[in-house]
Subunit: 164 residues, 4 copies
Amino acid sequence: MSQPIRVLVTGGTFDKEYDELSGRLFFRDTHLPEMLRRGRCRLDLAVEPLMMKDSLDMSEADRRAVVERCRGCPEARVLITHGTDTMADTARALHGAAPGKTIVLTGAMIPYAFGSSDGLFNLGSALSFAQVLPPGVYVAMNGRFFPGDRVRKDRSTGIFEELS
Amino acid sequence: MSQPIRVLVTGGTFDKEYDELSGRLFFRDTHLPEMLRRGRCRLDLAVEPLMMKDSLDMSEADRRAVVERCRGCPEARVLITHGTDTMADTARALHGAAPGKTIVLTGAMIPYAFGSSDGLFNLGSALSFAQVLPPGVYVAMNGRFFPGDRVRKDRSTGIFEELS
Amino acid sequence: MSQPIRVLVTGGTFDKEYDELSGRLFFRDTHLPEMLRRGRCRLDLAVEPLMMKDSLDMSEADRRAVVERCRGCPEARVLITHGTDTMADTARALHGAAPGKTIVLTGAMIPYAFGSSDGLFNLGSALSFAQVLPPGVYVAMNGRFFPGDRVRKDRSTGIFEELS
Amino acid sequence: MSQPIRVLVTGGTFDKEYDELSGRLFFRDTHLPEMLRRGRCRLDLAVEPLMMKDSLDMSEADRRAVVERCRGCPEARVLITHGTDTMADTARALHGAAPGKTIVLTGAMIPYAFGSSDGLFNLGSALSFAQVLPPGVYVAMNGRFFPGDRVRKDRSTGIFEELS
């Protein structure tokens, strides 16, 4: 039987939508449940929206809330959906904060609501890494996983890379 | 640096398209490269189309060709895209055939060319399992992984389950 | 104020879906209401499903039912969604059958449920022609309108053309 | 045979894309050719990009350029793709400017690049009205056509309505 995974939703490009009246991108509800249905996902998941924020707008208090929730939730495996811009910062804040737990952060470069999103690929990837990687903090992007304390997003290409 | 993965394409629902002249589903080229681009995948992959078949039409010779290629390819990690109907049969045929290699089979319930496909989720999942699972044969579907010799698809629900 | 339009649904590629258990295309409910919502359509429409059939499976009785409904409905303007293969046959059967009414047939080459469907384009086109063309029977496909008694679908290209 | 139609592209929501590096919406190339292919459109069209602008950013000079091009192009039928926010303003500027020509403006509430766009519906509708309406200036939105000098967009609902 698969082990339970806590899914903490923080917003990010993943969940952005287009507001047809203002012409701006905004957050409404998370698309996670719809994405999991589409992936015919049969894992034992507890989806918990923590906040709906562009990761550039996350404060230190927001980041602490994420850390606290990872520490406090009963599950030993945690997936965090997160904006890509400061994903590496949150990963670093989580480093060493929840010993014995496997924590995986993922996000998307294109909103799921757009036809061409990478979100479904990343979600499938991150949930899989969350099941089998040993305790630690990881970023799952570009089909790969990175150690949470040695990863950065290259802003000019949008690609994640491991710091040496 | 990520380890190289051989991706063997055999067809399946994954790659089916709609023929607007005949009104039937058919195979043309594999969608794998487009799906990998959309997932912004940065793994070291060698994509190799072996055949383009509905898995109900796979012969014993087809299945032997898959086994031979898994054995013969230089990579220690292999992903096979496959129709879901006989995926478990091919997994069983692979059991014990390529010792020391991690082989993951995946597919889709809905063609990728349809808006609502689960293919991108499954591809992200299978590529992730292929990187971290120990040597053996696995089926990656529904966000989970199953031992290749103890899995079946429930035809009435389309869900994969582990045999006890 | 816009005049009321009767929309008769007969099935066709428009409304086909993919059955993920059998791997076959089938009919369930019509997608017309969803398509009209997506087009933000504000016309005074009465949508009436008459049958859900591949137009190759339409019998003479089916065709008579369409003719009767066009004659009997209270609206002076009628849109018929129809499979493309025998759309020209039904158009011919309607010729002269409902004097004083503007009747437009349309369909799709690709099911709406597939990302790449032409259905939304054709629906917008047909509804517009239905509002402004004088009484008569027309086929609306490929952005054009054709007289219902002088049109055929070129089976080798899928394109509609006017008979001279 | 269908009469030639000039298609003037000015940008608008129709053509907006998501910039995955900045997280902002922007313009690159027009999606018109792809949309026409998807609609299997067989009209005699001359597509001409005039500018790529959010209609809130259109200047008086921009609007004059549109009027001049409508007047100067050889075709008697013109389609203009335009942002919805000031579409009614441009329609008014065109009023009486090109006697003998049928000019239709259309746009979209959701970018075509998003899965849920109304753009394809509106394009099919506007091209159809452009073929059959008598000389004059019209806005084609919500499946309807409006006289260009008596139309406004209700900003609170996004719906177009005729002024009495």
